[in-house]
Subunit: 115 residues, 6 copies
């Protein structure tokens, strides 16, 4: 059940290549747009990754959560900042979010250990 | 269909009083917790309201969106910051978010006009 | 915004007739099944209506909530029993459920007044 | 509660203009992409509109459903074809879809009457 | 794919400890509230666990389903009672619930065998 | 993580037998209905399987997606047709669909290799 950050990243890249091998221009444009919205702008990168993280938690997508956690880690988001974003996600999304919260904190710990 | 900010706020308060007239201690605690997670902490109020807004948009709850828009307005969030948070919500949540985006921008305009 | 129980019931019946005027055998079978699962069995009617109510609240469907509230009322479910089921729905589903909780308690009050 | 097709279309256009007056390039690109995926290709327009309709019904977005119903009508989709797509949406999405099915068939009737 | 009840319980406890090691007072309060709503009150424990189960099935969270199944088992809920609650969840939530129903009945069987 | 089509099919059949061993008449009727809506009618089988696929993708159920992919494959749906249906699902459902899209294209590749 434990997902190692390196394995996660490799699998994600392998499957993205597979998707793009099938993708026509609409799917390709969506992928470009999906990178574009997290770029620095009026809101900074950290805020945008936290937005992506909380949206992913309340929509309950573990892979999306793991991806945003990696980005949060690289941007230097602290444990305290993360915990507060998690608390917002938990209260908005309810107890159904808890299993995702468990896996999220485990992945966060593994990211920390891997540094 | 147009929801005026003042009417929205009055109706919300009226119905919150109704809920609390029925509420036992668990529902009351939930309401307290729901206020508590948006308080200033390691993350500032603006970031937390944007987290609440994006979660509400991707979960597609117009009333929740309107509430967070009011808070964003009071905290001085700019049109540009709002638009970027909206773009994250749209890309994460997909075209199904668009009708909520429409109503959100209309409410934002009404908040602006009411100042 | 206030939905009167009588209007709700009439509109629901009018539109059900409309759906059934278009429905082939699959949609008709689904409607029959939808009545069948709430019938008395190993679980009593009250429990089943509460199951329908909590599922409708966490999936956030106001019309479904109103329908199950009417049934709960007819079956003599008390304010205390209702409040506890609502608390489960709120904690499982999170703050995104609150606007539906507000409308649910208002409808419950109107059902009470109409007696 | 009854939504007239003409009013729906005007309101949709008015609010789309409002969204686009705030939109930066990411939201604009999303809107372009949202038109692009329904264009004739390996799958024909009718199939694509039915895909959009069923996705909108199972995700339970009335405005999205109404939009796709208008498109289905213009493309000459018959009552029988519509009913079968509706049946798939109902079985996949469950009874929680029923209130949306009611409003969908009402809008379909109004589209028919307006011709 | 088969999840053994003992492994499930141990993993759940291990990860709950991890979450609580990061948790500030809001997340801790949420966890307390999440226990509190299932306590005996105007509704009995069995009814409340069935409410939690059906909400978890319609929101499609396997871990939440497994937790409530364990509780249902301990409270002496019978196969017939369980099946009827499952049928409500299936009809409300639709065929998208079926994969979760499969895993739920398998876990229920394993709970039975472990006694 | 890679799910082989043969293993998937066997596991699905094993668990369906388990569900049906517990099922009363309501669950059995639902299963019958779930087969019935995909039968040839005013809409052909290919269109109906694509409807089921897109609904499953936007509701984000991997097992449902895999089942409909198998059916699509048997019905001779081409890579281009599949990609266009996927693009609709992605735009309607948003980036949260991407992890499911990855697993869907992998399963599609495995179905192709198994022929």
């Amino acid at each position: 059940m434990k997902v190692e950050p390196d394995d996660f990243e490799k699998e994600r890249e392998r499957l993205n290549r597979l998707v793009l091998s099938y993708a026509g221009k609409n799917i390709k444009r969506f992928f470009a747009l999906d990178s574009s919205v997290y770029r620095e702008g009026a809101l900074d990168r950290k805020t945008k990754e936290l937005l992506g993280l909380v949206a992913s938690l309340t929509l309950r997508c573990d892979d999306c959560v793991r991806y945003h956690l990696s980005q949060c880690r690289e941007l230097g988001i602290t444990d305290e900042e993360l915990e507060e974003a998690m608390a917002v996600a938990l209260v908005v999304g309810g107890s159904i979010v808890i299993p995702h919260l468990r896996r999220a904190f485990e992945f966060w710990t593994l990211l920390e250990e891997g540094e």
